[in-house]
Each structure stands twice: as C-alpha cells, then as structure tokens.
Symmetry: C2
Subunit: 260 residues, 2 copies
Amino acid sequence: MIKVVLLGSGNVAYHLALALKSAPNIELVQRYSRNDSSNAYFDADIPFTDDLRNLERADIYVIAIKDDAIEDVSGKLSDVGGLVVHTSGSIPVDLLHPGLRRGVLYPVQTLSLLQKIDFREVPLAIEVENPADESLLLELSSSLSNHVYKLSSAEREKLHVSAVFANNFSNFMFICAASFCAENNIPFDILKPMILETGKKVQYLNPIEAQTGPARRNDQLVINRHLHELEGERHEIYKLLSAAITTFYQPKMNQHGEKL
Amino acid sequence: MIKVVLLGSGNVAYHLALALKSAPNIELVQRYSRNDSSNAYFDADIPFTDDLRNLERADIYVIAIKDDAIEDVSGKLSDVGGLVVHTSGSIPVDLLHPGLRRGVLYPVQTLSLLQKIDFREVPLAIEVENPADESLLLELSSSLSNHVYKLSSAEREKLHVSAVFANNFSNFMFICAASFCAENNIPFDILKPMILETGKKVQYLNPIEAQTGPARRNDQLVINRHLHELEGERHEIYKLLSAAITTFYQPKMNQHGEKL
C-alpha cells in the first residue's frame, strides 16, 4: 500500500484525488489546501488539513498547486521524509526544495472540474531525481494510468511547448472560428462536428496526412479571397499560417531544382 | 421518391453515395465519374456512367467534384432539367452554368475514405437560387442529415473562412506539435488524448472558456522560455498566437483606465 498526501484544490488535484481513491494499492491519507473553500468538490472522507505543519506521514507527497506556489510550498515540506513530486508540465524538478527527495508526476491532459475523465487513459510524464525513487513513482503512476512515460525536465519542457501548440493554440483557432461566425450571424454549432472529427482523425492518422484546405493545395485564389474577409489579428494569423502550410507541403527540390 | 444522380468519385461523393443509398425516400439512379478507377470504393449496384451525355433523368444532380472542375462540368448539364447542386464550401452558387436550376448542398465535415461517419450528424449548408426549388432541396437534405442550415453564398464564404481556422489551422497546430516532438525524440502519442479532449470540450463549452496555458494567463516568463526553444516559422507562430491570446484576454478598460 502506497500512502499518499495530496496538496491542492484545483482541477488537477480534483482528478488526482478521484484516481488515487480508486486505485487498489494506494491509500490517500490526507489532502492539504490553504483554505477549505474547495472541500465541497472533494470526497468528504478524505482527511483534510489547511496547516502544512499537520501533514500526515506518507510515501509520496503530490503537490498539485499553481506553478508559482510550488517552490514556496515545497520549502515547507523539508521534514516529510517521503518522495515529493509536483504535477506541472513547465517546472523543472529542481525547483522543488533542495533538501527533498524530488520528482515529477505530470498528467498530460486538459482537466476541468466539469468533465469526467478516464484517468487510466491520461498519459503521465514522470521523473525522479534519485534513481532509488524510480520504482516507487513507477508503481504509483502505473496504478493510476496505463500510459506512463519517463521524461527528463528538459524533455518535459519540449513536451510542454508541443502541448501549447496541440491544445492552447488549436483551441484559439476555435475561438477565431467562433468569433468570426458570431460576427456574421452564423451558428458556430455548424462547425462543432468538424472540430470533433479533426481531433479524432489525429488518433489514427498522422496530422501531416490529415491536412486539407486551400493552403495545403496552395490555392492562392481562395487564400486571397479569405484574407480580404479578415482584419487585424485574424488577418495576420490566416496569412502566417497559410504561408507556413504552403511552405510545409511545397515539393522539396535538390540543388538542380529537381523534385526530391 | 427523389431521384438523384451523383457526379464525382472523391471522399465527398463516397460518403454522399452511402447516405443517399440508405435514405428511404431517395433513389440514387446513377453515378457519373470521368473514369471508372474509383468504382471499387462504391456500391456495385449503383448504375455508373463515364459519359455526361448518358446521364439519367433525375430530380437533383449532385456535383461532388473538385472546385476547379465544377464550372466546366455544370456547363455540360444544360439539358438535364432537374435541380443542379454543387457540394463546395467555397464556390458561389452562380458559378454553376447560368441556364440551370442552381443550388448548393455543402456537407460541413472533414470527410475521408478511411473514416466511417454518421452522415445524419453532418451539418449541411444549403442554398437555392430559385425559391421554388427550396422545398425539394430541403426534403433531400433533411433525408440525409438532422442538421440542415440555409445559408447564402456570402454566408457560406464566411463559414468556409471559419472552417479553415477550425479544421485546417488547428490540424496544422497538431503538425507543429508532432514535428517538434519528433525532433526531440518525444512520442507524439503522449499528446493524443489531450488533442481528442480539446475537440470534445468545445462540444459543450465555449472555446473562450476552455482556453488555458501561458498566453491565457499572460505568463511572459514561460512564453519567453518557450520562444527560446523554437526557431523559424514555429517561433513566429508561437509569438503571434501568444500575443493574440494575451490581447484577447486582456481586461478591457474604459477611457479612464478602469476595468470594464
């Protein structure tokens, strides 16, 4: 039985609490949060404290709090003895307080309170500073998910950059579409099935194969007509992305100008 | 019974043929294609011709061919009598030959041969030039899909611009993520569940609410660290999109510099 103390009250802590509770070989012995306003969301039988001096003894302390508070909170855990992991994609392992046994357990998913999720399908990127801690964190993470990846802090940083493109920027493309629809009195609902399919397609098809549209086929007539419809930032975005796509699919030439 | 002749051999024609065949009040009387190389994909009992002079009589002729061939092919249908519709998002209705009863039936979905799709869930944007043809095209389209929208050519052009953002550009964000992962030996599989969830979220949550990440929270430290990792076009794209997101979420001020 792996004893775990969970620190946090946000979306990641919420989903982790559910996953930790339902794993057979894990005991969630306590949850800490600065204040108890979030308690309504959490299972009432998880022992709770709002005082870092009252933490229970555990094998692993999981810090699922805002990035900018991780360093500070970890500094107050110097006596705990167990392995201390944070859950952030963008914070290196060594931002945790130096005296600790340090590691990372980063769930690579966009988690919100509203949305039920099968945590066993959430990829976990894990890291430990001390090789002696690896088997413990591996046991914990593979009890939570079927998809565990060992990544260094440097690799996790690259993954996080990729996640910004894959999630943040693609969602902003949906915002551009939705707001352009709204301005033109076109129901955004028309595009929702296509958006869902765009995400589904990538599950089995390389996105390089899935790309379609005027930029992919270098249809400058349509591109220019669309640019004429757009102003400001959306114009700039359309222009830059169309040029990037066209370049990406341009036939590569050798030094004699022959197609490769 | 609505008699339909389908022209085309690509992805849209393929999915339309399946949907037309399975609708109870539609008879798919014939399919035309310039050549018969695509026939293997299509139901063998759909009568086929590769000669536009041999088209059967029908109530509706559905032209599901490449954009740049629509004008030319429609010019050869001047004797057909029935309603002639094309299926393109980006071609106005009046590019069809002037002598025809003209209309549009645009399936707003990314369709590929590989992927099975529930056509009843594919939104259809329809248009007729002559109001007398509306009930016929409405009957056909609502026999194929639960989601039929009447849009003018001008509105369909705006919708198509939005679809470029929603599908083409979001897919290119997946390409950026996948290629950056590949260059850094990180399996792209780690990001696939997040990509699927990004598309699912928009089905019930406004993308403006769903946005997360460093640009949303105006975290310039992380943005600059990420920019440092990126070169060339991906650098430009990250910079432009982060700035656009940050601006989008900046608190709006009145003329006295007070938050609105």
